[in-house]
């Protein structure tokens, strides 16, 4: 048992952190309004971070799920607006696991196809083609993935990208969402996708969302600590006051708990049987969903009045945490599922 980062993983985190810094969230007054940032996307494809989990036989990087989560965390901690999680991680995973052709994935990995995932209107599960659904992390995407009534994977066209008139004004300003029209053009990519395959994709996706939440929390704790060290009241840095220190300590404790769960879930996504991987992922997603809101709220409190302004990034963290926590289910959804599994009477 080695619940620790390897030397290679530490190196990966450093590389990803440098990349993420360059792709980080601009000051909120300069949040992106254009439908795409092709340069940023090219950087992700050229560095091999996009599609890094997909098998090398399908033009991916063949990386371990745990490594992907570490990169997701770094991208989130810079509050990057680049749609890495949707288009570089979740969509390629689904397409690859479901059995999409290698050339489809090669186009995704090469940057010539921009495909993201679509969820149902409550963001609880993968979208069903023809039903109201939401393309997630859709900035720059031309297509989204959904299942049809026979559990075949389809790629559905999003409206022409100009202007994104079907963009939802969602809470998270770093992650674009848009509605998928029920009558949108589509193409069937695969035959019927096995339930076990979907379970594995589900586990992986929950682990990655947990990684994103950990990144947002890390960013919140860092920002809060920086602020209370520099903000002076009564002649001293407010971080000197115990009442302030205790809020920061609570945030740190919850962050580290979430990280410990997320590491295991991210490792389990590749290493355990789908049913066990899913239990681990639900655990991590339940914990990180619950504590992420607590942590970003603590950081708002620690930043004080400035956190309630548009120009400070605090609201960006809160927004991203709120979207992440409901995507594919919040803590209550997963705890009900965990109870169903663990309290089931053996027959």
């Amino acid at each position: 048992m080695q619940a620790a980062l390897s030397a290679d993983q530490i190196l990966l985190v450093e590389t990803a952190a440098r990349l993420a810094e360059g792709l980080g969230c601009p000051p909120p007054q300069q949040l992106p309004t254009s439908v795409d940032d092709p340069g940023a996307w090219r950087l992700l494809t050229e560095t091999g971070f996009a599609c890094m989990h997909v098998a090398e036989s399908h033009a991916g990087g063949g990386a371990h799920s745990a490594d992907v989560a570490l990169v997701v965390e770094q991208m989130a901690s810079s509050l990057s607006c680049v749609p890495f999680l949707g288009q570089g991680v979740l969509a390629p995973e689904l397409a690859w696991r479901a059995g999409a052709a290698p050339d489809f994935l090669a186009a995704c990995a090469g940057g010539s196809r921009r495909v993201t995932v679509a969820f149902d209107a409550s963001l609880a599960s993968l979208a069903r083609r023809g039903e109201p659904s939401v393309a997630w992390d859709a900035r720059g995407a031309t297509h989204a993935l959904a299942l049809d009534g026979d559990d075949r994977l389809c790629v559905v066209a999003l409206r022409p990208a100009t202007g994104f008139e079907n963009r939802l004004r969602g809470t998270d300003v770093t992650r674009w969402l848009c509605t998928v029209e029920p009558d949108a053009a589509f193409e069937v990519l695969t035959g019927r996708v096995d339930a076990e395959v979907l379970q594995r994709v589900h586990a992986f996706s929950l682990a990655m969302l947990s990684g994103d939440l950990v990144g947002v929390m890390q960013s919140a704790v860092d920002a809060a600590v920086r602020h209370v060290m520099s903000r002076v009241q009564f002649g001293v840095a407010v971080g000197t006051f115990q009442a302030v220190q205790h809020l920061a300590a609570d945030a740190k404790v919850l962050l580290e708990g979430a990280r410990s769960s997320m590491w295991y879930a991210a490792w389990a996504a590749d290493e355990l049987e789908p049913v066990d991987a899913l239990l681990a992922a639900r655990q991590a997603k339940a914990y990180s969903s619950r504590v992420a809101r607590e942590v970003v709220e603590l950081h708002v409190q620690l930043l004080g009045g400035i956190a309630i302004t548009w120009e400070e990034r605090a609201h960006v963290r809160v927004r991203r945490a709120l979207l992440d926590r409901v995507t594919l289910g919040d803590e209550f959804v997963h705890e009900d599922a965990i109870a169903a599994q663990r309290l089931e009477v053996a027959v």
Binding site: M229, A248, K252, D336
Partner: protein
């Protein structure tokens, strides 16, 4: 990153599991004396089985294994519903790190084998969280036989299991000319020493585990100092690091056991749980699992022989959070029955409230995380 057991860990786990099945008592008696006796037998059995002092160096009677084995031990004992292992990590490590060769030879075997019981005399009525403020004095004097002795006067409180202990690791003020942090020494005091008197404290939940210990001109040989005179504060701080780690004190095993029992009761319909209770049980599992995974991480990061750093306070805060939530859920699910019968559930509940008080209060732990982990200013 590898969460699976390596072959050696897997073999260890398998052997351990088989051993627990044959040796672990299912229930401990409720009566305090009988309970202590049964726990002691259990700890001696664990020692004979080779499960005590796993990370402790071989030359001092341990097994010299990696810290992850402590996590495995805790997980397996908990999963089997067995009582926790002995909470001796802090005292054994204090003696290992600071004791003379003679002291190590003299005291470690009895500690590891649970044949000699120790208590830890730190807190005082006026020095709880503020350990530097202790007033128990040990003056270096010559006794009637012209031997150098420490003559001890003062009072300790919250001394766990003092009534049953043969020895006390005592923090006392010895260097009156030194500033507070250099003025304390750690003394090894036989509880049978004339002038040492023990008064039991009955806990809020009716059990007897704490005591007040009074020292009235109690004399111990000058050689009974651990480390050098004036090292007391340094030793105490290192030792608290061990006391805070949930795996060091076998805490996780106890919590997993409690949740396992609750889940069994629900599965077998001895306790009826509706949807909100079932969700609450899952919530408790989520918290406990996070604690377990976090402790695995802590153990993986702790190199052999290195002492726990301030990050241990994160573990302590996580164990507190998990334990207090678990007890709320336990009472919620068991409902009025737990209130109509003043039994084990209420005892566990009161224990969970103590978790944020002993071993450094919740507030002290937060200070440590804020100042020594996050680097916020110290006043």
């Amino acid at each position: 990153m590898e969460y699976r057991d390596d072959p050696a860990e897997a073999a260890f786990r398998q052997r351990l599991r088989a051993w627990i099945e044959h040796h672990a008592p299912r229930e401990l008696p409720h009566d305090a004396e009988a309970r202590i006796e049964a726990l002691n037998e259990w700890h001696q059995a664990l020692y004979r089985g080779g499960w005590v002092g796993l990370t402790f160096p071989v030359e001092y009677g341990g097994h010299g294994m990696s810290p992850v084995y402590e996590a495995i031990l805790n997980d397996e004992l908990g999963a089997a519903g067995a009582p926790p292992p002995p909470a001796i990590g802090h005292i054994t490590n204090a003696i290992r790190l600071f004791g003379s060769d003679v002291q190590k030879r003299e005291y470690l075997p009895g500690l590891l084998g649970s044949t000699v019981r120790w208590c830890q005399g730190f807190s005082e009525p006026d020095a709880g969280s503020d350990l530097a403020g202790i007033t128990t004095r040990a003056a270096l004097v010559e006794n009637a036989d012209r031997q150098a002795v420490y003559r001890i006067d003062g009072q300790k409180i919250w001394t766990s299991e003092a009534v049953w202990a043969q020895w006390c690791l005592l923090l006392a003020h010895t260097e009156s000319d030194q500033p507070a942090h250099r003025a304390l020494s750690m003394l090894l005091v036989p509880m049978a020493t004339p002038g040492v008197e023990c008064h039991e404290i009955i806990t809020a939940y009716g059990t007897r585990e704490f005591a007040e210990v009074f020292f009235d001109a109690a004399e111990v040989p000058a050689a009974n100092v651990l480390g050098a005179p004036g090292d007391g504060w340094t030793i105490a701080m290192q030792l608290l690091g061990y006391e805070r780690g949930p795996a060091d004190v076998g805490w996780i095993a106890r919590l997993i056991r409690m949740l396992t029992v609750l889940e069994d009761d629900v599965r077998s319909a001895r306790v009826i749980a509706g949807p909100s209770e079932r969700r609450a049980i899952a919530h408790a599992w989520v918290e406990l699992r996070t604690l377990q995974l976090h402790v695995q991480r802590t153990m993986s990061s702790r190199l052999d022989g290195s002492t726990p750093g301030p990050e241990g306070s994160i573990d302590k805060l996580l164990v507190t959070r998990a334990e207090q939530l678990l007890n709320h859920v336990n009472l919620q699910v068991r409902g009025v029955a737990a209130i109509l019968h003043d039994g084990a559930e209420i005892e566990a509940y009161f224990w969970s409230r103590a978790q944020s008080i002993f071993g450094g209060t919740q507030q002290i732990q937060r200070n440590i995380v804020a100042q020594r982990v996050l680097g916020l200013p110290r006043r």
